[in-house]
């Protein structure tokens, strides 16, 4: 199986406090630490496991400025075989659809049986995988929580749906999947591995390499444009009980009793 995993460098949700910047144009980026998007990491781990079982290769790709380099190296250290860095000033401001077009061009340069994305990234749109599949006219499944390779042309997947249930599908390859967290337990990437990966060669593909122009994939083409950032308006909210712990407990017990909360 030759698998391509699309990875993104995002502000790490666990290690940062996300705040707005002074003029509401972006989040405050000073002092942010970045990591590979958590869903994408699960996807790379899954791809590596499939490759170890069935043979083939795992390629990781990112569409980003030069800062995206570090997540490619980390995933190489984790066990991916190759990395591709798609980088061009032309791509700045591209929306989800633009991103999907860029990735489509990259995919058509190679030969892949499976393309993985994470379910979603920092913007929470969860759209690139599905758009990509439609552009390629490949079958698609989102929120994949389990994957089994049946043979070179077919896989069986589970999708995580409401109520803790799972939908089971069979899919013909090549196909696109968006991978859910919890599908596996990603291995640890030792710092030493990351340092070793810093000397590897990662090819950079520009717009011209992919046959793209600003018209086909640039920011100007975006149909959806972000205008500003602001804090969600908070409603009135709960009544916060005050007093000593004893007083609060008394009051709370009284309220619970009256609402049928103590049987």
């Amino acid at each position: 199986m030759d698998i391509l995993v699309c990875v993104k460098r995002v502000p790490d949700p666990a290690e940062n406090e996300i705040r707005l910047n002074a003029d509401g144009t972006d989040i405050e980026r000073d002092n942010l630490v970045y990591s590979v998007n958590e869903w994408d990491n699960y996807a790379v781990e899954e791809a590596i496991r499939i490759r170890d079982r069935t043979g083939g290769s795992v390629t990781v790709v990112t569409v980003d400025n030069e800062e995206g380099d570090e997540v490619l190296r980390r995933e190489l250290a984790m066990g991916a075989d190759r990395a591709i860095h798609v980088q061009d000033k032309l791509f700045e401001g591209a929306d989800g659809e633009g991103l999907a077009r860029i990735l489509k061009a990259e995919i058509e340069k190679g030969r892949y049986d499976l393309v993985f994305t994470g379910v979603q990234a920092d913007a929470g749109s969860a759209q690139v995988g599905g758009m990509l599949a439609a552009m390629l006219d490949w079958p698609f499944a989102s929120i994949v929580s389990h994957l089994e390779v049946l043979d070179e042309q077919k896989i069986r997947i589970h999708r995580e749906v409401a109520g803790g249930n799972q939908e089971v599908y069979e899919m013909d390859l090549p196909g696109v999947l968006s991978i859910q967290t919890g599908i596996n337990e990603p291995r640890y990437v030792p710092i030493r591995g990351i340092l070793k990966a810093s000397s590897l060669d990662i090819p950079i593909h520009k717009a011209s390499d992919l046959g793209l122009t600003a018209d086909t994939a640039g920011g100007s083409r975006a149909r959806v444009k972000r205008q500003d950032y602001f804090l969600p308006v908070m409603g009135e909210g709960a009544e916060i009980l005050k007093g000593t712990a004893e007083e609060i407990i008394e009051r709370l017990i009284g309220l619970l009793k009256s609402k049928g909360g103590i049987r």
Partner: protein
Amino acid sequence: MQTALISPAEATILGISGVGWSISILVIGLSLFAYFVARRLTPLLKAGADPRLDRIPERLVRLLKYGILQYRQPRYRLAGILHIIIFAGFMILSLRSVTLILSGIVDGFTLPGSGGRFYTCLKEVSATAVLVVCLAAMVRRGLFRPKRYAVPAKYGKAHTAEALAVLTLISGLMLCDMTFEASQFSANFQKGFQTGLLIPGTGTWLTTRAFNPLPVSSLQSIHLVAYFLHDLIFFLFLCFLPLGKHFHVVTSLPNVFLMKLDKGTVKPVKWDLDESKIVDLQSVGAKNLEDLTWKHILDFYSCADCGRCSDQCPANSVGRPLSPRFISLKCRDHAFKRYPLFGRAAKEKTPLVGQVLEEDEIWSCTTCGACENECPLMIEYVDKIVDLRRGLIDDGLVPQSLQKPLKSIEKRGNPYGKLETKRADWIQGLPVKVLGQGENCKTLYFVDSITCFDDRAQKIARSMARVLDAAKMDFGILGADERDSGHEVKRFGEEMLFLALKGKNTKAILNTGVRNIVTSDPHAFNALRHDYQGIPPVEHISQLMERKIKSGDIQLKNVENSGNIYTYHDSCYLGRHNGIYEAPRTVIDAIPGLKRVEMARCRDRSFCCGGGGLAMFYEPTEEKRMGQVRVDMARQAGANVIVTACPFCLVQIEDGIKTSGLEGEMEVIDLVELINDHLVCRE
């Protein structure tokens, strides 16, 4: 001296001369033994380097103290005394054995010093003592079966049979010697010849009296049988030694001589390799047997299966899958299998973790050092566990519960994922200087992560600031420039991450120009003292307070609640690893009117709280939490307030109090907080 019996050297048995038998037994026995030892040495030649021939004078002193004088043995009183007697007996009787064996080749052979009355006395008393002790030991092993010898079902059958067999062999040696001598004495008496020295009460004496009714012809047979039986048992025993735990008879003194000299340190990734070259290695850590050093393999051979390590191991006692004793035994058996006495050595490497050891076993260790502190053979465990962890990390095999804090340390310099800029948030209005922002001070207070960020531990920092102030110390903190000391990062095997932290902290510290460092965290203390190089000297706050109380700079008022009974909990990295036991006690006792008791397990027998650094994040399979067990121990000692000198111990024990439902009944407080509460305020 004329003897009534024909000596073994003169005798002829089954047509072959006694000398012939003696030489044959000697040659075959010694050759086989030499062959076995040579085979056992093979893996050591293939294993990693380990420089152990430095600082010879120190080593000789330790050889004397721990080896010859068996300094650790009496820590388990009965077994210790029994062993000392057997060991002393072996040492004394070694001369006798050599004499006896060679006298079968050269009739009447004696070594200088072994013929005289003094040695005869010594040897007779020793032999008798050894025999009595062996019998007592057999009863103890076979009948009373002390718990620490028990073998968990998953590791097979109990080792009692082997123990009893060996004790029988040793008893046999003693009995044969006594019988050999006694038969000669008895025959001499009957024939009216002069005899050597016979000491009343000894085994030989008793046997001689028992032999008196026997005719000389019988005594002659007994004499020869006893001699050659002794010879056979001796060489049988000698060749048996390399086959199992009794190899320690041969390897123990060398193992003690070659012991690790510096407590609190961790061996480097490779002894002859500079830090900067670690990144270029093909593989890091102990993944298979040959990745360990030769000394580690010698350690496995030296394990006497006494179970004292596992008996003291806190992880073991709360039901975690870790048993240091079985790490040694399993790895020893693995080495025996790979390098058999007969046949080819195995070619392909086998991974230790997965085949011989379990992952959970390796991650369960808190590196408290109780095992190493107890082992009479000075076997090292922490270094091996760290090497095994390095191998697991290198292969990415890290439990998820540890991946999160490691990632947070990588990105934010602390395992909680909090912003570095918040490292000084605990100050909250106290006039604490942050160094490197135009402030210069003589002393650095290195806070470290848990004290910076944990709600409860932050109170230690505030008390620390007040106490340092009261002691008129000119101090400051690094604030946002401080990173986790990396103490546990190193001991959990992420050496490169540790080096990154060390680099940043060292730079920040040297930038400040401070002359000395103080900390309230024993893990930080140990890291700065042993893992870092080129920084100003560091001490723990207990040492500083001891000095300042003595000099009168800190004055303490009467204990607040005179009804409280306090007990001091020795934290592993202040106590065992750094030998600081008295300073905290002196400090506590300096509070007038304070009543303090000791727990049964205190000082170097202290029981780990389970919380050091990353150990707090790991989720092991266990039956009870170490914190709860320690709280129990404090209650049993009659205390209601536990004093700790480590933020991890504080958090773990407080947790233990909560989950035991003892809130309100028991309390835990840090040493610095206790002193802060009792400072006499100056106007």
